[in-house]
């Protein structure tokens, strides 16, 4: 029996006024995979992720989380679903008034009733997991470098041991060394924690280093295939994307 998808998007339509972003889009996220979502600027990657997270109500179509329609869920059920996924946003979206430790503890405070010393200890675990130095816990987000912010955001996303992780542009704005380290971290966490990861990225190196399957948003639809398959796809935009000068370099490396 084929495994059930964690998230399926069925016949999704998203429209802003007269502008159609998605038109009858289908997508399945299978457990344990790393799915990369790519697409040109303005092709609706973020809109798609926001819809999958239930942060945005689609114009029509449905999003199923483990077979259950997200928009039909009651408040407690939705909370239970939200507990199962962790999200990092493109710019980190760390709460600027809170220290890194408090940022990481925030979801745990929301969902669990734990004493402070336990929270501190678990926050330290998350911070070590993502490879931040222990002295980072007392820092404010503004005192962190770009790479550290990404890691701290990942630590917060991992706070509740999610099964599903959404990463929005996890390596954007990082130097190649930090980006490679982040790729390695993602691979490592995925292997050790058996996470399912949905990743929006433009970074070809990241795609080749981490993704099992790639979903390309073109012409308001989505084309999903394995990494090897998508490279062979005849669609002109995809060809351009994976066979442009930058892609060649990235493929050679991996």
């Amino acid at each position: 029996m084929a495994p059930e998808p964690i998230i399926s998007v069925r016949n999704l339509v998203n429209r802003f006024g007269r502008q159609v972003v998605h038109e009858g889009l289908d997508l399945d996220v299978m457990p344990g995979e790393v799915l990369g979502i790519v697409g040109g600027s303005g092709s609706g990657k973020s809109v798609l992720v926001h819809t999958m997270l239930g942060l945005r109500r689609p114009t029509s179509g449905e999003v199923l989380f483990e077979g259950k329609e997200i928009s039909q869920l009651s408040e407690p059920e939705l909370r239970a679903v939200k507990r199962r996924y962790g999200v990092t946003f493109q710019h980190g979206a760390l709460f600027s008034a809170l220290t890194v430790a408090a940022n990481v503890q925030m979801p745990m405070r929301e969902y669990l009733d734990l004493p402070n010393d336990v929270l501190d200890q678990i926050a330290m675990l998350r911070i070590r997991m993502v490879g931040l130095q222990p002295d980072a816990v007392v820092k404010l987000p503004s005192q962190l470098s770009g790479g550290m912010i990404k890691r701290a955001a990942l630590a917060r996303a991992l706070a509740l041991d999610p099964t599903l992780l959404f990463l929005d542009e996890p390596t954007a704005g990082l130097d190649p060394i930090s980006a490679a380290a982040f790729d390695e971290l993602v691979n490592y966490l995925r292997k050790s924690l058996k996470l399912t990861i949905v990743m929006v990225t433009h970074d070809l190196d990241t795609i080749f280093a981490t993704c099992d399957r790639v979903a390309v948003l073109v012409d308001r639809k989505i084309i999903v295939d394995t990494l090897a398959g998508i490279v062979q796809n005849p669609h002109p935009w995809i060809r351009e994307y994976f066979h442009g000068p930058r892609a060649r370099a990235a493929r050679q490396e991996n």
């Binding site: 010393d117 336990v118 678990i122």
Partner: protein, 575 residues
């Protein structure tokens, strides 16, 4: 039936942090089923749904002291002995709660006669007997008490008390009220919210002292949801002194990273105290991950100044605050200097004055504020005129109301009210706008383009406000006088023409200017404070809010202070 009872329990426990369907609840139930005479049917209904589960046919036989079998109860009074046993299966099945002991007493005057331990417990709970021994002494006394109070009036000589102590945290007492009280008619299930981690010690950890040190048997669910219980269970390990410790993972149902991390941290602390810790294979997966991420030794974070006594801390705080204030004042002075410098430079060319921006600021700080300024000036002068007329009428000096209103509005009220409203509207807007731009690095972007942010962001706002404020003041003056005139004609029978005539008689030519001349000064103060605080924003949204508040409060304060100085100076120079 089973479903029904289950639903009822779930309903009655709604709002509690555990679903009753969750075995977690059993952790802190002490279930005493008191069987008097005919109440068995009541009790059955009160028992947790698990008791009704007959899937497993583990029987509990009652025996008397000599080991002989006892007669089965009457069918209608069937206190399902088997059900109790099944209940244990439930607890054992979950691996969370332990039936530490089951007492079956013949009557209230004998000591507990029978203790069924292992026989009635699930085979997966090998430690039950030990737990029973540990708890025995603590519970003997209360068993008897229960007998005399609740089972005190046995209808039949065969009154039976069954006490099932499911568990109790080591070293803690059952609070009054969290026991289950049998009233003789029925048994009530009580629990205590205050003890969510009640059974941590008995359900998550089993400590066993052997020849080669202590064995730490991990049991049950060591996952994040249970973290509080895990932490309190681990806290007890520290108290146990042993030089060697072996951790056994055999009894574990589940462990995740946080659980493993808490254990690892605790073991590290023990190792630091010289305890030798071994882990019996197979070690669960998360530990390998933890070993991986802690390869570098943690750096302890030193906190500064915490050990100081209160007095020293207070002095230090005052000192720090004073230094901050001095720095702040110097910073403000420097800011003033930079603005003057930028302003003088910008005056050199029309392009650098950025006329469109200035016009926009005049519109936003001036024209957009006209309705509210007019309304407030009008109302305040009505109030002043009303109060004044009321007082002056007593002397027959009604006509002086005109003097009062005209002088007060023109010299003070018009400009001061305008300044306060503008400080609230535009001072805060300046601080917030510039603050957000700072947070978004827009100010740095301007600098990098080679544009002076003071010239683009601050000067147009200042110049715009300096233009707008006097205009607003004139409008406020007009509306104030109109308010006074209206009130005079309605209340004092001073017609409008007479009001005007009287005004012309009494007003010195300077009165109007004495008010108006203050407007640009106030405008500068408000604009400078607002933009300065905005420029100070960095790092966080909280700073933005704080500095916006500071901007408004400080600019109003400075406006009033400046007004006081003006008042004194004008009197001195007879302006």
């Amino acid at each position: 039936m089973q479903q029904q009872v289950r639903h009822r329990h779930q309903a009655s426990f709604k709002g509690f942090r555990y679903d009753f369907g969750d075995v977690g609840l059993l952790q802190f139930i002490e279930l005493r089923v008191v069987l008097g005479a005919h109440q068995h049917r009541h009790i059955r209904a009160q028992l947790a749904y698990g008791l009704q589960d007959t899937e497993f046919d583990i029987g509990l036989r009652e025996r008397n002291d000599e080991g002989g079998a006892v007669l089965e109860p009457h069918r209608l009074e069937n206190f399902s002995v088997r059900a109790i046993a099944v209940h244990h299966r439930i607890t054992g099945f979950a691996g969370l709660a332990h039936a530490a002991r089951v007492h079956i007493e013949r009557n209230g005057f004998e000591a507990p006669l029978l203790r069924y331990k292992r026989e009635i417990l699930n085979s997966r709970m090998p430690t039950a007997s030990r737990l029973c021994v540990r708890l025995r002494s603590a519970w003997s006394a209360s068993c008897r008490k229960t007998m005399t109070t609740s089972g005190g009036v046995p209808r039949t000589p065969m009154a039976t008390t069954i006490i099932v102590v499911i568990s109790k945290p080591q070293g803690s007492r059952w609070e009054h009220g969290n026991a289950i009280r049998g009233t003789g008619k029925s048994a009530t299930v009580c629990y205590d919210r205050r003890m969510p981690a009640a059974t941590a010690s008995t359900t998550l950890l089993a400590m066993e002292n052997g020849a080669d040190g202590m064995t730490l048997g991990l049991k049950g669910d060591w996952r994040l949801d249970n973290a509080a219980a895990i932490a309190s269970a681990l806290a007890e390990v520290g108290a146990a002194e042993s030089q060697r410790m072996t951790v056994d993972f055999a009894g574990l149902t589940a462990i995740d990273l946080p659980g493993a991390w808490l254990l690892r941290q605790h073991l590290d602390a023990l190792q630091a105290r010289g305890v030798v810790v071994d882990m019996a294979a197979p070690v669960p997966e998360p530990f390998a991950f933890i070993a991986e991420i802690t390869r570098e030794t943690p750096v302890p974070v030193a906190s500064e100044g915490q050990g100081l006594p209160l007095l020293a801390r207070t002095v230090a705080a005052i000192g720090r605050e004073s230094v901050e204030q001095v720095k702040d004042a110097r910073g403000a002075l420097g800011y003033l200097g930079r603005i003057v410098h930028t302003g003088v430079q910008a005056l050199g060319s029309v392009k650098r004055l950025r006329l469109p921006a200035i016009v926009r600021q005049v519109y936003e700080t001036g024209i957009a504020a006209v309705p509210i300024v007019s309304l407030i000036a009008f109302l305040i002068s009505v109030i002043v005129a009303y109060l004044g007329a009321d007082q002056l009428r007593q002397f027959g000096a009604d006509i002086y109301t005109v003097d009062l209103v005209a002088v007060a509005v023109l010299r003070e009220l018009g400009v001061l009210l305008t300044a306060i409203i503008v400080a609230g509207r535009s001072g805060s807007a300046f601080a917030a706008e510039i603050g957000v731009m700072k947070l978004n690095d827009e100010v740095d972007a301007l600098k990098s383009i080679g544009v002076n942010p003071l010239e683009v962001l601050v000067l147009p706002r200042l110049i715009g406000l300096v233009i707008a404020m006097p205009l607003l003041t004139i409008i406020a003056d007009l509306m104030g006088l109109a308010g006074g005139a209206m009130l005079s004609s309605l209340l004092l029978d001073i017609p409008f023409s007479q009001f005007l005539q009287r005004m012309q008689e009494i007003l010195a030519p300077t009165t109007f200017w004495a008010g108006l001349v203050k407007a640009p000064v106030f405008a500068l103060l408000i604009g400078m404070v607002g933009t300065y605080r905005g420029m100070q924003v960095r790092d966080s949204s909280r700073e933005l809010g704080r500095l916006t508040t500071v901007a408004v409060v400080q600019s109003i304060f400075l406006v009033i202070l400046a007004d006081a100085i003006f008042a004194v100076v004008f009197v001195e120079i007879d302006f």
